[in-house]
C-alpha cells in the first residue's frame, strides 16, 4: 500500500500540469464554423455564421448581416455539473457524479451575437462554457481537466488592397475564469478538493491579421488565404491558455455545379504543437442547396461532418465531431437578419 501511494505521488509530481486546451477550443472563430470546418474555416467562406474566421474576408462582404447563435454540445448534464464545479457549488456527491463519466469529453456551450458590414464587423460572446477532460490509467485513474467560462468581444476591419488582394485584422479580448489541473481521481474525492478546484482568472488579448487573394472573376473563384492566429498577450502565463501563434495557409475553389454552391478547400496549419507534416493538413468541403448546407472536414487526427438548415431568418444545425477517443455532437440554433 505504502509503495503504491509513493509511486502515485511520484507520478503526480512528475506530471503536475494541467491540460493545454486544444487549439480548436482556444480558437476565436464562430463556434459552428470552427467545430465543423476546423482550421479550414480560415479559407472556406461560403458557410456564413457570425464573423468570418479570416478577417480579410470581411472586405469581400457586400451586405450587412446580424447573426445570433446558440451553440452547444449535447452533454448538457455534464456541462451543468462542470459549471457547478467551476463556481464551487458542488458537494462531495456532485463531484463524485461528475467524475463518474469515465471517458474523455470535450464539451462546450456558447451564445454569440455578431454584426457584419462591408469592411468591418463586431461580435460579443457573453457566455461560453468549455469542459475538457481526459482519463488515463484505469487502475489508478488520473484526470486531466479544464473547465473554463469565457466572455469575449471581437472586432474585425478589412480592406481591399490591390488586384484581388484583401487584408484584415481581428482584435479579440477574452476574459476567462477557469480551473485546470492534472490529478489523481482519489485526490478529487478527498479533502484537497478545494485546492484542486480553485478558480483562476485570466485576460487575453489577441491581434490576428489575415490576408486573402481571391480571383472572384474566374469561374471557379479560387482563393488563397494566410492568417496568423492566436497572436497576443495574456495577463499571466498558464498551461491551459498558452500564447502560441499559429500560421494558417489555405486554398479553396468553387467548382461550377448545375445547382447549388460547392466549395472545396485545403488548409495547412503550423503551430508549436504540430509534430509532423501530416498533422498540419486538413481538407474540407461545403455544399449549399436551398435551405441546406452540408459541411465535411477531415484531417489526420480528427474529422467532422455537419449541416445547417437556414429557413427564412432561422438556422438550425448539427455537427458531428470525432478525434481519437473524443467525439461529440453539437447543436446550433441561430437567427440571421
Amino acid at each position: 500500500m505504502f509503495i503504491r501511494i509513493f509511486l502515485l505521488s511520484l507520478f503526480i509530481c512528475s506530471l503536475a500540469w494541467g491540460e493545454t486546451l486544444p487549439t480548436a477550443v482556444r480558437d476565436g472563430s464562430t463556434r459552428f464554423l470552427s467545430r465543423s470546418l476546423g482550421s479550414a474555416c480560415y479559407t472556406l467562406d461560403s458557410v456564413q455564421r457570425g464573423l468570418p474566421c479570416n478577417p480579410a474576408v470581411t472586405a469581400k462582404e457586400r451586405a450587412r448581416r446580424f447573426d445570433a447563435d446558440f451553440f452547444a454540445g449535447t452533454q448538457a448534464e455534464y456541462l451543468k455539473e462542470a459549471e457547478n464545479l467551476l463556481h464551487g457549488n458542488s458537494d462531495e456527491a456532485q463531484v463524485a457524479r461528475f467524475f463518474s463519466h469515465r471517458e474523455s469529453i470535450e464539451a462546450e456551450v456558447s451564445l454569440e451575437a455578431s454584426f457584419q458590414a462591408p469592411k468591418w464587423g463586431v461580435s460579443i460572446e457573453p457566455y461560453r462554457l468549455v469542459a475538457v477532460s481526459r482519463f488515463e490509467n484505469p487502475s489508478l485513474p488520473m484526470v486531466d481537466l479544464v473547465i473554463a467560462e469565457e466572455q469575449s468581444v471581437k472586432g474585425q476591419i478589412a480592406s481591399y488592397i490591390h488586384d484581388n488582394f484583401y487584408a484584415g485584422l481581428q482584435a479579440r479580448y477574452t476574459h476567462v475564469r477557469f480551473i485546470g489541473d492534472y490529478f489523481a481521481l482519489s485526490e478529487a474525492m478527498a479533502g484537497e478538493r478545494d485546492d484542486l478546484f480553485s478558480a483562476q482568472e485570466l485576460d487575453l488579448i489577441y491581434l490576428e491579421p489575415g490576408f486573402l487573394y481571391a480571383w472572384e472573376d474566374l469561374p471557379w473563384q479560387p482563393q488563397i488565404s494566410a492568417v496568423l492566429a492566436h497572436w497576443g498577450v495574456s495577463s499571466h502565463k498558464t498551461e491551459q491558455y498558452p500564447i502560441q501563434p499559429t500560421g494558417l495557409l489555405g486554398a479553396s475553389l468553387r467548382p461550377v455545379v448545375p445547382l447549388g454552391l460547392l466549395e472545396l478547400g485545403i488548409q495547412f496549419e503550423l503551430a508549436s504543437e504540430t509534430r509532423n507534416v501530416r498533422d498540419a493538413f486538413r481538407a474540407a468541403l461545403a455544399y449549399q442547396l436551398g435551405i441546406l448546407q452540408a459541411v465535411l472536414s477531415v484531417s489526420d487526427s480528427d474529422h467532422s461532418a455537419g449541416f445547417l438548415l437556414a429557413y427564412k431568418s432561422f438556422t438550425t444545425g448539427l455537427s458531428y465531431w470525432d478525434q481519437n477517443q473524443n467525439r461529440g455532437v453539437f447543436i446550433q440554433l441561430g437567427v440571421t437578419l
Binding site: 456551450v109 447549388g260 429557413y311 438550425t316
Partner: protein, 186 residues
C-alpha cells in the same frame, strides 16, 4: 443552460416577424424597360430558388425523419425533428417561389399588358416605386424602434436584477437588440 435556451428563444421571438417578407429590392431609375428586365431576371432567380428549396426541403424532410429515428439523445432528436418539419415547410415555400409571383409581379403584368404608352408606364412606375420605398423606409424605422425599445427594457431589467445569471441574460438580450437596432438604422 436553461437560461441560455430561454435567451435564444426570446431572441428568436423578437426577430420572428421580420423574416416573412419578400421585399422589392429594385433600386434603379423609373424606366419601364429596365424594370421589365429586372422583374424577368428576378422571376428566373425565384424559379431557381424555388427548385433548390423543393429539392433541399425533400432531402431535409427525409434525412430529418431518418435521423430522428436513428439518434438516441434528446438534443439531436429535437434538431432532426425540426429539420424534418422545416424541410416540409421549405417544399411549400419552394413551390410558392416556383409557381406563384408576388405583388411586384402582379403590378408588372397589369401594366406590361396594358395599352399605356411607355411614358405613362414610366410615370406609373415612378409612383409605385416611390410608394414602395416610402413603405420600406417606414418598415425599417419601425424595426429600429422595436429593437431599441426591447434593448432599453432589457438593459433596465439588467440594472435592477440581483441574480447574476438573469443579469447576464438581460444584458445579452439588451446588447443583441441594440446591435440590431443600430444595424437597421443605416
Amino acid at each position: 443552460m436553461r437560461v441560455i435556451l430561454f435567451a435564444a428563444f426570446v431572441l428568436f421571438l423578437s426577430c420572428a416577424s421580420w423574416g416573412l417578407e419578400r421585399e422589392l429590392s429594385y433600386d434603379g431609375e423609373a424606366h419601364w424597360n429596365e424594370f421589365r428586365e429586372y422583374v424577368l431576371q428576378q422571376q428566373k432567380e425565384e424559379e431557381r430558388k424555388g427548385l433548390a428549396y423543393m429539392i433541399s426541403g425533400t432531402v431535409a424532410a427525409i434525412g430529418g425523419t431518418i435521423g430522428y429515428h436513428q439518434s438516441e439523445e434528446i438534443f439531436s432528436r429535437t434538431i432532426f425533428a425540426i429539420t424534418s418539419n422545416v424541410g416540409l415547410a421549405a417544399i411549400g415555400l419552394g413551390a410558392t417561389y416556383y409557381w406563384t409571383g408576388n405583388e411586384t409581379d402582379s403590378f408588372f403584368y397589369a401594366v406590361d399588358g396594358s395599352s399605356l404608352t411607355l411614358h405613362q408606364k414610366n410615370e406609373l412606375l415612378a409612383r409605385y416605386l416611390s410608394r414602395e420605398r416610402e413603405e420600406r423606409e417606414n418598415r425599417r424605422w419601425i424595426r429600429v424602434a422595436t429593437h431599441a425599445l426591447i434593448a432599453a427594457v432589457n438593459l433596465y431589467s439588467a440594472s435592477q436584477e440581483n441574480s447574476s445569471e438573469m443579469r447576464s441574460l438581460f444584458y445579452f438580450l439588451g446588447g443583441a437588440n441594440a446591435i440590431m437596432a443600430v444595424s437597421y438604422s443605416f
